[in-house]
């Protein structure tokens, strides 16, 4: 049990997927204008990443590894993630149209979110078992959500400030991310 809590804390804070591993930066910089949209995206990522970790583990352990096809993991995982996102999309469309509309374009974009593929590949490298893989996927996605919602909060606060022309846009977001990264750096002593 302790080790599972350690995996969650480590995935969400110490090795935060965005601020220390630099995965999922595109959506981190792009979809962090408003707290509401980034929280929806975070929710979708938690959903997809947890399921993707489970499915990737099953495929790798019971099909790829016994057949000696583990070099195909990149191709198989990306296809699984793409298919999974499609299924989740269809499922949500049928069962919860409200949530489907709220997530909008962000759901298909998760396919190219490198954080999802990164976690699946890292789980294999780290040799996690089934439960650990799922927990690590979930923890990583929670860390992703925390980081993107925090950044959106900062950006909402400073949106109307008088900012020098060259800093507007991407540089400002990058500077905010720098400060957040420094703050998250403090967690590294926990490990």
């Amino acid at each position: 049990m302790n080790s599972l809590i350690m995996i969650i804390v480590s995935a969400a804070f110490i090795n935060n997927v965005i601020l220390s591993q630099f995965l999922g930066i595109c959506s981190f910089l792009g979809v962090s204008n408003k707290i509401k949209t980034s929280a929806s995206l975070g929710g979708a990522v938690i959903f997809v990443m947890t399921i993707a970790s489970a499915v990737a583990y099953i495929l790798y352990t019971f099909i790829l590894a016994p057949l000696g096809l583990d070099y195909l993991q990149t191709i198989v995982f990306i296809l699984v993630i793409a298919a999974l996102v499609q299924i989740v999309e269809m499922f949500l469309k049928k069962t919860s149209p409200a949530l489907y509309t709220a997530l909008g374009i962000y759901l298909p974009l998760i396919t190219t979110n490198c954080a999802v593929l990164g976690v699946a590949l890292n789980n294999v490298t780290d040799g996690y078992d089934f439960i650990e893989s799922v927990v690590s996927g979930f923890g990583t996605a929670v860390g992703y959500t925390i980081a993107i919602v925090l950044l959106a909060g900062i950006r909402e606060q400073i949106a109307d400030n008088d900012i020098p022309e060259p800093v507007k846009g991407a540089p400002l977001v990058l500077f905010c991310a720098t400060l957040m990264g420094m703050a998250f750096f403090g967690f590294s002593s926990l490990g």
């Binding site: 601020l19 220390s20 591993q21 630099f22 995965l23 999922g24 930066i25 595109c26 959506s27 910089l29 792009g30 979809v31 204008n33 408003k34 070099y71 195909l72 993991q73 990149t74 191709i75 990306i78 296809l79 793409a82 909008g104 374009i105 190219t112 979110n113 490198c114 593929l117 990164g118 590949l121 890292n122 490298t125 949106a159 022309e165 060259p166 800093v167 507007k168 846009g169 991407a170 540089p171 400002l172 977001v173 990058l174 500077f175 991310a177 720098t178 400060l179 990264g181 420094m182 998250f184 750096f185």
Partner: protein
């Protein structure tokens, strides 16, 4: 335009006009993650270039065969195959580099530059032009990684490609090679590029959809809901 001109134009386009890192802000994950040293930066840049050139060529060759509905999954499989080949080559011949780049080699699959070029250029243009587009974009990406990693390694560790260059009296700014330093240095570089481009085209209006980098991308109008499908 003859063939030479197309080639030169595509390469200049990749290095300057549409530089993937500084102008388009694509492929940010490897950009920030591997630029702790010059060796890593150039290694990453060249492996991405290799995948980009070959996949651009192949996608351009098969662009008329693939049905429109399934083109993205097809592109992903093509790219993923070449990434796997690259990874196997790296594991065999560049063991040290492969170890330090780690998971970022397989992650070339989801590098937005590659799918972006496949969708925006290779799926619409003949093979030769697409190949040069790949070369141009690859050089632009590698050059961006080189600039970023040279700055971080020089001031963050006092070395260049592993060789001590700074005098021993210089105290390295440790934070630059740590995670937050990546955001900081890239922020300053993009800021400098912005300042330069503002100077050159002083009063150009940047509003409207023509200059929009795409929904949700940095620099886009936050209230813009996209050209199609305006949400109520």
């Amino acid at each position: 335009m003859n063939k030479n001109n197309v080639a030169i134009e595509r390469i200049i386009n990749g290095i300057a006009t549409e530089n993937p890192i500084f102008i388009m802000m694509l492929g940010m994950c490897p950009t920030l993650a591997v630029t702790t040293s010059v060796t890593n930066g150039i290694g990453m840049g060249l492996s991405t270039t290799a995948v980009l050139v070959v996949s651009n060529l192949v996608i351009s060759l098969v662009r008329k065969i693939i049905p429109d509905d399934v083109r993205l999954p097809a592109y992903i499989v093509i790219v993923a195959s070449f990434v796997t080949v690259t990874q196997l080559i790296m594991q065999a011949y560049f063991v040290a580099l492969n170890d330090s780049l780690g998971v970022y080699i397989p992650l070339i699959v989801v590098n937005c530059i590659i799918l972006g070029r496949a969708e925006a250029y290779a799926s619409k243009n003949p093979p030769l032009a697409s190949t040069f587009d790949g070369i141009g974009m690859g050089i632009g990406f590698t050059w961006g990684l080189f600039l970023l990693s040279a700055f971080r390694e020089l001031f963050g560790a006092g070395t260049f490609a592993g060789i001590q260059v700074m005098p021993s009296i210089y105290k390295p700014i440790d934070i630059l090679v740590k995670a937050p330093g990546a955001f900081l240095v890239l922020g300053f570089i993009v800021m400098a590029m912005n300042a330069l481009s503002i100077k050159t085209r002083a009063n150009e209006i940047t509003e409207g959809c023509d200059n929009c980098p795409g929904c949700g991308m940095p620099g886009a109008d936050p209230d813009c809901e996209g050209k199609e499908g305006k949400k109520a």
